[in-house]
Amino acid sequence: MAAHPRARSQPAVATPEEARRVYRWFDLVIAVLLLFLFMGIYHVTTILTVGDWDFWDDWKDTRWWLSFTPIVLIAMPSATTYIFWSKFRLPFAATFLTLCLVYAEWINRFFNMHGWAYFPLNFIWPSTLIPCGIALDTTLVLTESYLLTGIIGGSLWAVLFYLANWPLIARFLLPVNVDGVLMSLADLQGFHYVRTGTPEYIRIINRGTLRTFGQDPIYLSIAFAAVMSIIVYMVFLSVGRIFTRSQFAWLKKI
């Protein structure tokens, strides 16, 4: 069977304008795919790791929530940043991921936890990592260095998590006297809005010897989160690097 005469003679894209249009369409398709992919993967990662600390007001403490959340959730932005930057010089992976996470979390909280399980939205709002993601991306642009981004951006990632989420949680930390017991409004939400499968003792909040120092260790928690975020950022850059290499070619042969 003979090939079509135009098949060899003309390229699919003839002019720079056409090429530009094809590139835009390609960008759009990839962007939409990545939106859903990142919403799914980053959200599931968050549920499986941070879980209750992000689900409920009465888990958002000054020890575990503030340190564990940024440390665990910097991993995926770090690996993705490596891919986006090393292959495309694009510095928005962390912002895009944190935005996807917020979208996915609000969808889950609104339809699932509020719509099906009846929890009030002011008890189950998600924390935000968007400013942390912006800081990571913009630091990369300004320094063009993974190491400096890890040190400066990684620290900002942890510090901004506290600064940006304080205006959200602070109003729920007002004190209340509940039949002779001091509680915060967040604790009271947990008591009022019954979670059959979550007894009070199961909350992992303010545990550890630092508890003896009251609220002061909050800055230790942030400092610890910053150091760990730097380390996790650097480690997961390597994971991103693995995904950009072709050492999995042997798998294709199999």
């Binding site: 935000t128 304080w166 939400q189 059959t196």
Partner: protein, 421 residues
Amino acid sequence: MDKRKDLAKRNATLLAATIVGVLLAFGTNALAHGERAQEPSLRLSTIQWYDTRWSADHVNVNQDLTVSGRFHVMASWPLEIPKPDRLTFLNVGIPGPVFIRTSSFIDGVNGVASMPLELGKDYQYKFTLRGRIPGRYHVHPMLDVQDAGAIIGPGNWVTVAGDASAFKDPVTTLTGLKLDLSRYGLAAVVRWHLVWVVLALAWLGYWLRKPLLMPRYEAVQAGEGDHLITRKDRIAAAIVLATTLVVAIAGFAITNMEYPVTIPLQSNQTKVPALDDSPASISITPEQVTYLVPGRSVQFRLRIANHGAKPVRIGEFTTANLRFLDSAVERPETGYPEDLIAPAGLLVRPDEPIAPGQTMQVDIEATSSVWETDRLTALVSDPTSRIGGLFMFFSPDGERSMVEFSSAIIPTFTERVRDGE
């Protein structure tokens, strides 16, 4: 050919209709939340709930419902189940926050915190719920035991009527702020989220306005990657980073000014004194306890000694939230859930008072299909075949004495154990 297609279409329709029909025929509503799924040893030998009362079976939105009663922590707690002497929490078995819990007390101590409980002791509890979402719900008291899980008490159906949007949860803070906890603070949370989303979209928009992947990939592959980040890009990054920092720091500072008094999340433990022990005026020695599988009947042969000053009669055996009553001695309270009372009751032989100082051998039968329907017969397959519960004795003047009972149990698959008696 058409005929064959028609036949295939008809067969497919028939098959689909059959599948739907079968599903509809065998599908039932899920009306409760798995209380019968718990292992028999967990229900028979851990917590025995009694004197449970629901203040109403119909409340409106914003109207209170009180659940109260007592529970006995079995002294013969199963070895395989973590004991409640570390931490427990009085909870409510309802399908989510369809009610809110406004207060909770155990022996008069506030039950918002977790607490250890003593084996062999009795506790009195009371909690108040407020109707929130209209519907018909099974309401149970429940005790969460650390590392063991939830041990659910008897349940009653309660209807909530009214308009969910009218629900209010008024609270006054120690700073004097009056608020509705069901809605408080949500607008501010959403506002802050939107601020950050807008900033993120601005940063993404800056990059997404020009072709991205293909031309940039080609440039990087060609070794031109370092030229892709322009001065303009750096200025944009600096502006966005500065804006982020300013917004975050300003938000933090303004919040501190707005809420100068905040406290960390509170987590505490409390101690609750158990109810006073009643004098041990009656003792029970099990001689033989069997479960007659074909007859759905648990048969006890007991040696009962009355050390008290009054004659007593057995009026009730309660276990796993089920009550077996000797109707000649005790009647159920009005409004108590019928499905928790065995219709055939308790057959006691000889059905006569045990005099003070007397020791009597008594045969008791607790016969009911509830052994099967409540899946307690699964105890046959438990690694530890034991039955536990509370025997309740009554004196002629109505005074009640309770005795914890625990014994090995032998299943009988073919014949009555004491045939001919």
